[in-house]
């Protein structure tokens, strides 16, 4: 984990309010594993004050890619950022997705910019020769919101698309696409779900995983202060302890370990 400065090399627009920051000077992020995140802050004043958490889309040769969707004031400033601007970075932080292997079956379930760590994971898997062990489900509101499709094709990853308005791929939300695929699935072992996306999508996928007794790992979002386990602001309700911390013990957490919205009807033994 390092705290350092990086420079924006390019701000690549992929879709309306969706863009990739290409940051130079990120050699310290070489050990980054898919699912881990960084805390990022621009050289503005003291408002917005806190750094923002972002998963990483890729790292190579000292350059880091971050896929961002404009949400509020901090991401709006990132959208407006121009090459040459400087940023503070802290990372790699947190936990990563379980590594792929020849005999594992990982279904990656991505909603919106939740794609970033999962595409990173899939590309790494493909590079390690496990392309056939991963299958990516990726959903967005509409066809224009689905980004980086060529990159998936290039990596040779199997992709199932879904859009809310049916303009591309399956008509519906991505958890439904996973559900259908599960119904059609004839695999010997049940797949493990690796999930990243907006809260409602996490909740729906968690419900599906519980219903089908599938192992699942969720990448959680939630307000963060420090990113390093100090402010105690990112507590999530857990099964075996009252709280765990998204920044240290997450963002990727095993579904079994979660309580609260992800496991509202968890078996009685779960609650503390």
């Amino acid at each position: 984990m390092r705290y350092f400065e990086a420079t924006l090399a390019e701000n690549e627009v992929l879709a309306p309010h969706t863009f990739v920051l290409h940051l130079d000077g990120c050699a310290a992020l070489a050990p980054m594993r898919p699912g881990q995140f960084i805390m990022l802050r621009g050289e503005w004043g003291r408002d917005p004050m806190l750094p923002r958490a972002f998963s990483v889309l890729g790292v190579a040769d000292g350059r880091c890619e971050v896929l961002v969707k404009t949400h509020g004031r901090g991401t709006a400033l990132l959208e407006a950022a121009r090459p040459g601007q400087r940023f503070s970075l802290l990372g790699p932080l947190g936990t990563s997705f379980p590594a792929p292997s020849a005999d594992s079956r990982q279904w990656l379930v991505a909603g919106g910019v939740g794609l970033a760590p999962l595409l990173f994971h899939a590309e790494r898997a493909a590079a390690a020769g496990f392309a056939s062990s991963v299958r990516l489900f990726y959903g967005g509101r509409s066809a224009v919101d689905l980004v980086l499709l060529e990159r998936m094709a290039r990596a040779g990853i199997a992709v199932d698309l879904a859009t809310d308005d049916g303009s591309r791929g399956m008509h519906g939300r991505v958890p439904s696409a996973v559900e259908r695929a599960l119904d059609a699935d004839r695999g010997a072992t049940p797949p493990t779900l690796l999930v990243c996306g907006p809260e409602p999508m996490l909740i729906a996928t968690a419900r599906l995983a519980r219903a089908r007794a599938l192992p699942a790992f969720l990448s959680l979002e939630g307000e963060m202060g420090c990113g390093i386990g100090v402010c105690l602001g990112c507590a999530v309700a857990c099964a075996t302890r009252p709280f765990r911390y998204t920044c240290k013990e997450g963002p990727v957490m095993a579904l079994d370990e979660l309580r609260g919205p992800y496991a509202p009807s968890a078996p009685a033994g779960d609650a503390a």
Partner: protein, 311 residues
């Protein structure tokens, strides 16, 4: 020219006037590799209660303009956990360790002061001072009432004073109309240093969900937003000349901010929220203070203390 940053807080000597603030620096180990712990003037550790606490439900923090709200609920490992798991590491750092503590009742405060003192004795040292938090807005019983009534606060400090031979710092709440009266009561009861200020009670609202932004509705405001209020309170108490040093806290983000607190009358300061923004903040601030003194031709940072002159 080199600048002398050494600072004397009562009987305690620090290598610099810059400490890290309780609750914003964990138990210091979290910052290993991110900042040079040995260069800190001191570390105020996360507030300790007699027994471990798990804290409040989420959401516990939210950002505000140049600040943040928190209602962590004083989650901590308790006196025993601290003594066994945290103190050994802290004691080896070679910087001053100020252990922040609190209780939910009068007796818990006294127990905690006594327990920490005993732990330090068992360990052969490692705690340089206790910082009594009578000002946390996040515990329902206790904290707030103790901290706002001069009589109650004085009694509480007197009792803790009797329970420890360590230097006793008392951390005051800003949520009062007249901080000087409160400070005077606390000094008369035996405080060795006043830590000014803790967070300001505040709230956030999510207009879309119509819910508070913190699960507890109210929480504490910290960060650069509150610096002007902190400076005012430090100066008011300093002007009252109560005869004990002041540790200035609130929104410190730069060496010049530190200088402002020293000029207003603080002897040392703590860097809090900015540790979240920049994990190297306290040492960056230290370097900036050194540069500031250099530019101003000051041989000793301590020469800044209380130098405010009328406009």
């Amino acid at each position: 020219m080199s600048v002398d940053l050494r600072t004397q807080v009562g009987t305690l000597s620090l290598t610099s006037p810059i400490l890290t603030a309780s609750g914003t620096f964990g138990y210091a180990r979290e910052f290993e590799g991110l900042t040079d712990l040995s260069r800190l003037g001191g570390i105020a550790t996360k507030g300790i209660s007699p027994r471990p606490r798990f804290g409040n439900p989420s959401p516990r923090i939210c950002e505000t303009a140049s600040g943040m709200l928190n209602s962590i609920g004083l989650e901590n490992v308790g006196v025993e956990g601290f003594a066994n798991e945290k103190l050994p590491f802290l004691a080896k750092l070679g910087t001053r360790i100020v252990v922040n503590f609190f209780g939910e009742t009068f007796d818990e405060y006294v127990d905690c002061a006594a327990g920490l003192t005993a732990a330090a004795r068992r360990h052969g040292g490692g705690i340089d001072a206790l910082e009594m938090n009578i000002s946390c807005p996040n515990i329902k019983k206790g904290g707030v009432e103790f901290g706002t009534d001069p009589k109650v606060a004085g009694d509480l400090v007197r009792a803790c004073r009797a329970a420890t031979d360590l230097p006793l710092w008392v951390k005051l709440t800003p949520n009062v109309a007249d901080l000087v009266t409160l400070a005077r009561a606390v000094v008369e009861a035996g405080a060795d240093c006043l830590s000014i200020i803790n967070t300001i009670t505040a709230m956030g609202v999510n207009a879309r969900t119509r819910r508070p932004r913190l699960a507890t509705t109210f929480g504490g405001l910290s960060g650069p937003a509150i610096k002007p209020v902190a400076l005012r309170m430090v100066h008011q108490v300093a002007r009252a000349g109560l005869g004990v040093p002041i540790c200035g806290i609130g929104g410190i983000a730069s060496g010049e901010d530190v200088a402002e607190f020293l000029v207003a009358g603080a002897t040392c300061v703590q860097v809090g929220t900015m540790n979240f923004v920049d994990p190297d903040a306290a040492n960056r601030v230290r370097d900036e203070l050194e540069a500031f003194c250099m530019e101003e031709g000051l041989a000793r940072a301590a020469d800044l203390v209380g130098t405010l002159r009328p406009c």
